[in-house]
């Protein structure tokens, strides 16, 4: 009854699993470090620092895997935003999520081999993978080697500035994760998309 399309190549799935693991660890330890408190320790500070550092380095290596895999498998085409008409396509998708979905309308951009992300997905994935994650990685590496950071940036302490970017990017990635986790439940059944990212196949449902 359903026709299956192979959407998530194995390397992408491996990357995604490791990435999710690393990010969850990083968010957890990161929050614990940022809100460290002697009376209510989330987690021992030195332990949190060690885990955060290892998970961070691991994330960087894994990010390289993501870039490599996208080049090797041709998955990269899904991350190319076609600028012409993109804004109006975004609105169409947003309208669908705000109203259409409740009226049982069909999704305006059905999933296909050529087009696996809807415009909103595409925008958020591109923003996360090519803006926030790289910012996170650059500032993270800098904080690992603070002697590389100039003493002053725009009149405030260099490390402080770097850390502010690190924390703000971390915040956006956390928000992304929250939204991401919710949106992947929007499928034929709430768990269907999770199956896809495990076995690689998308089952046509519309």
């Amino acid at each position: 009854m359903s026709n299956r399309i192979y959407l998530y190549p194995l390397v992408i799935r491996i990357w995604h699993f490791l990435n999710a693991l690393a990010i969850v660890l990083l968010i957890f330890t990161g929050l614990s470090i940022q809100y460290s408190n002697p009376e209510y320790p989330f987690m021992r500070f030195d332990l949190a620092i060690i885990i955060h550092n290892y998970a961070g380095v691991f994330l960087v290596v894994n990010y390289l895997l993501f870039l490599g895999a996208n080049i090797a498998t041709g998955n990269r085409k899904h991350y190319k935003i076609i600028v012409k008409g993109f804004i109006s396509r975004l609105f169409v998708q947003a309208r669908f999520y705000s109203f259409g979905i409740f009226k049982g309308e069909k999704p305006p951009f059905p999933i296909s081999q050529q087009n696996k992300f809807n415009p909103l997905q595409q925008l958020s994935y591109v923003a996360i993978m090519f803006v926030f994650l790289p910012l996170m990685i650059i500032t993270g590496i800098a904080l690992l080697y603070p002697e590389l950071i100039p003493a002053k940036i725009f009149g405030i302490g260099g490390v402080l500035f770097t850390d502010l970017i690190h924390i703000v990017s971390g915040f956006f990635i956390s928000i992304f994760l929250l939204i991401h986790l919710y949106f992947v439940t929007i499928g034929k059944t709430p768990l269907k998309n999770f199956k896809s990212i495990i076995n690689g196949y998308h089952e046509e449902n519309h």
């Binding site: 470090i33 460290s36 408190n37 002697p38 500070f45 405030i156 302490g157 490390v159």
Partner: protein
């Protein structure tokens, strides 16, 4: 009009008189000490003198421990002193008399002890703390203030508003002059083996950075209410090992290293512990209040929207 001019004249001459009087006062106060008599030998690697027995002029190497840096001397708090204010005038002759080695030397407390002029430095309290510290307990009176404070160069880090990095470097240098493998100074006092700070502190991540941005005493001495610099160095078992003592909003650094600035800026632009902000970034202690609030509000907002959306989906699908 005339009276106005007249009174203006009186006023001006009054000011002039005041200025000349006070400026004279100042020039009388600080005659530059001429320590050349001593520094011609103690300021150089080599010294020379007339050997009275052979009648010849001899050149000799100066013991490196007895060489003084003139420039550092002039920066110190005692730069107005002549050498013989602290050392006996008999030193003016060379060879120095052998008995001079036996004369007791003026220590900090001999001049500053019990002196209300220096009340704000709390010398007497400091002296009591030093006596009760690990050093005082182990070595008694042998461990004088001079073990850490060079009377020739002593400078006040805080009052000159030096950069934290410099204050830290000077203070840590005092300790590492002894607490290091290679330092002979340690063996003046103890037969046990001086540990290597690199090894004994290997548990501390980014050790280099920590030793550049905090003083040894931040971890090794207790917090003092009245003293700007606590001198109560405790045994190693009581040293601070818990990271969160510094890395949290309640950072102990605010009552130690940053104590002298703590009052002036507790929260600059909403930065908690703003006093530290310009010189260093301490994870967990430097936080921004507004960013915290904004992030919590945004996060809750997104979460509520998602809940609402999910709710509608569940209801309307049915």
């Amino acid at each position: 009009m005339k009276t106005r001019l007249f009174s203006l004249g009186i006023l001006l001459s009054g000011i002039l008189l005041f200025v000349t009087l006070t400026s004279q006062d100042q020039s009388e106060e600080a005659p530059p000490p001429d320590n050349y008599e001593c520094l011609k030998c103690h300021g150089k690697n080599y010294y020379s003198f007339e050997n009275e027995v052979t009648g010849m002029k001899v050149h000799k190497k100066m013991n490196p421990y007895f060489i003084l840096n003139h420039q550092k001397y002039n920066q110190g708090v005692h730069n107005s002193f002549a050498c013989i204010d602290c050392h006996l005038p008999e030193y003016e002759t060379y060879p120095h008399a052998a008995e001079l080695k036996l004369e007791p030397q003026y220590g900090c407390m001999d001049c500053h002890g019990d002196d209300p002029n220096y009340a704000k430095f709390h010398f007497d309290e400091i002296s009591i703390e030093v006596e009760g510290s690990v050093h005082g307990n182990a070595l008694g009176d042998d461990f004088k203030c001079e073990m850490c404070h060079n009377p020739h160069y002593y400078e006040l880090g805080y009052s000159k508003d030096k950069r934290i990095e410099e204050i830290v470097a000077t203070a840590n240098n005092m300790c590492t002059e002894c607490h290091n493998y290679s330092q002979d100074k340690f063996y003046l006092l103890s037969d046990s083996c001086a540990g290597n700070q690199d090894i004994t502190h290997s548990w501390l991540p980014s050790k280099e950075l920590h030793f550049k941005s905090v003083r040894c005493i931040e971890c090794h001495s207790t917090i003092s209410d009245s003293l700007i610099v606590s001198h109560n160095i405790v045994e190693k078992e009581s040293a601070v090992k818990n990271c969160v003592e510094c890395h949290s909003t309640d950072s102990r650094l605010m009552s130690t290293l940053y104590k002298h600035r703590a009052k002036e800026s507790r929260s600059k632009f909403g930065f908690i512990n703003g006093a530290m902000m310009n010189e260093s970034f301490v994870v967990g202690a430097t936080k921004n209040y507004y960013l915290n609030v904004i992030s919590i509000v945004l996060f809750s907002f997104v979460f509520l929207i998602i809940l609402f959306h999910a709710f509608l989906r569940i209801i309307l699908k049915k």
